[in-house]
Symmetry: none
Subunit: 242 residues, 2 copies
Amino acid sequence: MTIPRLLVVDDDEDMRSMMTRFLHRSGFAALPAGTEAEIRAHLEAGRIDLILLDVMLGDENGTEICARLRRDQDVPVIFVSALSADHQRMAGYEVGADDYIAKPFNPDLLIARVRAVLHRAQRTPSLAYRRRTETYRFAGWVYDARRDEVRSPEGFEVALSRRETALLKVLLANPRIPLTREEIAAALDVAGDGTDQPGRAIDVLVGRLRGKIERNPRDPQLLRTERGLGYVLATDVTTEEA
Amino acid sequence: MTIPRLLVVDDDEDMRSMMTRFLHRSGFAALPAGTEAEIRAHLEAGRIDLILLDVMLGDENGTEICARLRRDQDVPVIFVSALSADHQRMAGYEVGADDYIAKPFNPDLLIARVRAVLHRAQRTPSLAYRRRTETYRFAGWVYDARRDEVRSPEGFEVALSRRETALLKVLLANPRIPLTREEIAAALDVAGDGTDQPGRAIDVLVGRLRGKIERNPRDPQLLRTERGLGYVLATDVTTEEA
DNA sequence: GCAGTTCTGTTACATCTTGTTACCTAGACG
DNA sequence: CGTCTAGGTAACAAGATGTAACAGAACTGC
């Protein structure tokens, strides 16, 4: 079972990054999107398991977007909105929403409801009555989250620093999805204070992780560079519950 | 589509009949139940599409019932409860609920949420997403899109830059079809801003790719020039699904 | 506390990528 | 053969990325 891929649609950058961060921490892949065109592009480009859709998108309207999507897409949609009156919720369900969450929301509750919808959509087993994923495998490597240890394909244990481990987790939560330095930094700095310096910390961190998990760090096969964009874990990841 | 059959589990007779009435009015079959034994009897006796489960059932506890049901049943469950605090909701989702509705509730909203869960539960779990072609072969060369690597007929891996790889992909997608510089540029610049300068970037790029995949770059056999028109990949291409 | 070790961000410089420019060659055509 | 034009490509420049070296922070064992 691969990691669920969610689309986070919100025109507020802060809200989007906040939600993305929480989702990443909970083991989801979260892709940002701002317009209907971007949503459709993502749907065509690859598997999307669920869309978190803001109702008020500047001049756009989330419900109308959802209604149009529903004409040819059955992807699960959860509305996230500051409009919490019953008739507004009703409008959401009428255009085919799977759930409707009022802002401000409890992040843990959001995650729980995302899991519930995903479970019902039969794309991922609900983690509710199962253990949280504890083991990730990729390209022969194994990351055991419980023991917090990494083993190479040959079985040797590789010591990663805290920061390197955090980076690996972020990547494992988003296999094959290019992440910008900003996204990575945001996911690493859970207490993101927004003071994002334009330093090269992420580059150096990536280089250090490469030095430990790449066969030939000068020619990285796993942790690839997306020039002008960021980095991507260029392999599939399988997960197992403990 | 037959009429959905719901189980209404509540120990309060008034609440039960009220919910049942609303459900009937909305075209559902609503069966009352009060205990776990009754629930299981119904599940075994016939099809049940969804359970509306009160959290506080006298001396029984709805969440525990749900947790036990989940061991062998995947029937959708919506909790209906006067307990609306976040941690109480979380507890509901943790035992596998599909939704959690606080009392008192708006009957129309209840119906809408029932419909949403039913829709999601009854949808076909197909939604197979098509894999993209992963391997291209041409004139002995192999381009593995998954690994993003190119191998010469002799088996050597050839390192292409991102831009060169993109060009190769465009050509592989259009074998034997001459492409103008404008068409190539448009295909390469996904975020085509329309500002197409008449520069020689494509010519130089073609030259660089030739330098890597042509036996004799001065006498190109694969990436031919169509004088006055553009360039063409002068070979057949076979593709394989992963 | 304290000294040694490890971790992590910054900096500086090397390297890689890619578009532009300038100049050259190959064909076309008379 | 001379001229003209499209195309080839070396050289350059700008920008992005890789990484060694350094220093302060954090941590460890005592």
